[in-house]
Amino acid sequence: MAATVIDPVRARAAEAPDWPGLVLLRDDGGREVITAAELWTDVARAAAGLRRAGIRPDDVIVVMLDLSRELIAVFLGAMAAGAVPTIVATASARVDAQLYHQRIETLLRNAGAAAVIVSAATEPHALGLPCRIIRSDTLADADGGDVPHDLAGDRLAFIQYTSGSGGVQKGVAHTHAGMLRYIESKRVGLPLAADDVIVNWTPLYHDQGLLSGLLAPLVIGFRTVMMSPQRWVRQPGLLLQCMHEYGGTLCYMPNFALNHCVRAMRESDVRELDLRRWRLLLLGGEPVRADSLRAFSERFAPQGFRESALRAGYGMAEMVEGITASLAGPPRVDWISTAALQREGHAVPVAPEADGSASFVSCGPTKDGAEMRIVDGDGVPLADRCVGEIEVRAEYAMREYYRRHDLTRAAFRPDGWFRTADRGYLVDGELYVVGRTSDMIIVGGKKLAPEEIEAAAERVPGVQPGRVVAFGVADRRGGTERVVLVCESAKPDDAEQCIAVERQLRRAVTQALGVTLGEVRFVERGWIVKTSSGKRARGENRAKYERELGEDAAP
């Protein structure tokens, strides 16, 4: 019986040393196949190297590596040595180096990290950080020593940093026992077996990539084929080519990825593919849209993709990854009256495509070991079809936000219910997500705090503090949200000056956060709605934008 997520990796190396479990598609075009025995050798060497470098059990180490064999070895090796790794996104050319440095420094201070593990490529971005810097190639030189067998399951396995409202970085800390419980719920729920093959492009610093792309395959014992998100973005066809070549049965995507595949796939890249083995396409990470599901199914039906492979789920890093998932595909679609939803908070069913209707996709029932409920503002559970805040409780919930007891206490009720800040309703045990109680924006599965976007915009000369507001609006073409920035100006009709400022705003936000503004609008002074305490009322500003400036605004 495994106590940690490392135990199955060790066991497989002994039982099936030649099993080619990991396939890595490198950004330089090369491919590596890593067998069970090779993986364990990598892990044991990294564990020994970390110990030799003075890393002790329970030390937090920050892993700043691109998708590579080293990244996987260091992440697993750290856990094997009893340390607690956290993987961070590496710097991108679009993001300002100084701002990246500051963000990592804040994270290091919260984590109380003992070291940052870098490669030759990422080392320049770590220089000057108030922490030990260790090159991963110095670890691999070490002879693999004995890896301890007696790690207890209740110790921390790893930390995953997520962006919270207000731009606070929260370190979601999971135990080995929680992780194994979660993976078991996936195994029996979907179900998953040794003959499955996943093709994964979601990053390992994100819950979906780490859990579904790496840890679940290693623990359950099925094959994983991995590529970086950067590679997939510019080459979406590669994902489908791998599904074909490796007989892929399983793939995870946020909703926007469906639209990206449909819009950006070259016919010449997919014409000859056979996708008949594809059994599960799991959508999560952002709201799932019925038109995206339909467009994807239709586009790839000629290659043998079946609509019944589509599943939707709901979850968050705090609950490892997922709380719900469809039991069968395609997910149910619920058509409801938007007027009744806005007026009374009721999801009143209407005929599909009726005037004044909206559709929501079912995220399915809870997984084994999890519960959910919908509550009103006082925490009282609501009946079916009443909209309220979604609360969840799971045997595999995180242990805490690392070294932030204040945030942990605020997130959980005393009886263990976790307040998600998402709004939704239930019908016969299936969850429909309709929005959020917070101002968080989700673009392509990435969470963004509007405060951070506004702060970046306010650094542009001529933009006055408090005179810009950022919010997300539905992006039907992209299948996600896009960021709208509304900026007050003394001369909103001066097109030349507005374009000059718009150029600076776009650049500033991209360099600060790596996100592209979908739209920049200039308005007269006093346009932005504030709360009585002088804060930006983002929900009201979004509604005002939709009324006055959006695509459907009255002329």
Binding site: G29, A93, R94, Q230, V233, R234, Q235, P236, L238, H260, R263, A264, M265, R266, S268, G444, R477, I499, R503, L505, R506, R507, A508, V509, T510, Q511, V515, T516, L517, G518, E519
Partner: protein
């Protein structure tokens, strides 16, 4: 098929990028303006530009060349299209 003129390539790319990708048809996009590093379009759009070039001019740009660095301005993209 005779090679398209540079000005025609740039002009059609500009219309495509401003209208379809930025959804801002009147944006005065300059030939040397950074598209992705300037925050006008996101890196996903590189793949869309690849599809547009293939369907418009029949030029297939291999994936390793479809990078943000290689496709960051109208000038860079137009030069690549002209090379065929």
């Amino acid at each position: 098929m005779s090679a398209p003129a540079r000005s025609e390539i740039t002009s059609r790319l500009r219309t495509f990028i401003c209208t379809e990708l930025m959804q801002h048809p009147t944006y005065p996009l300059r030939d040397d303006e950074p598209l992705m590093s300037g925050g006008l379009i996101d890196s996903f759009c590189v793949a869309h530009i690849g599809v547009f070039i293939e369907t418009t001019w029949g030029v297939y740009i291999p994936d390793p060349e479809l990078t943000v660095e290689a496709m960051d301005t109208l000038n860079l993209i137009a030069t690549r299209v002209q090379r065929g």
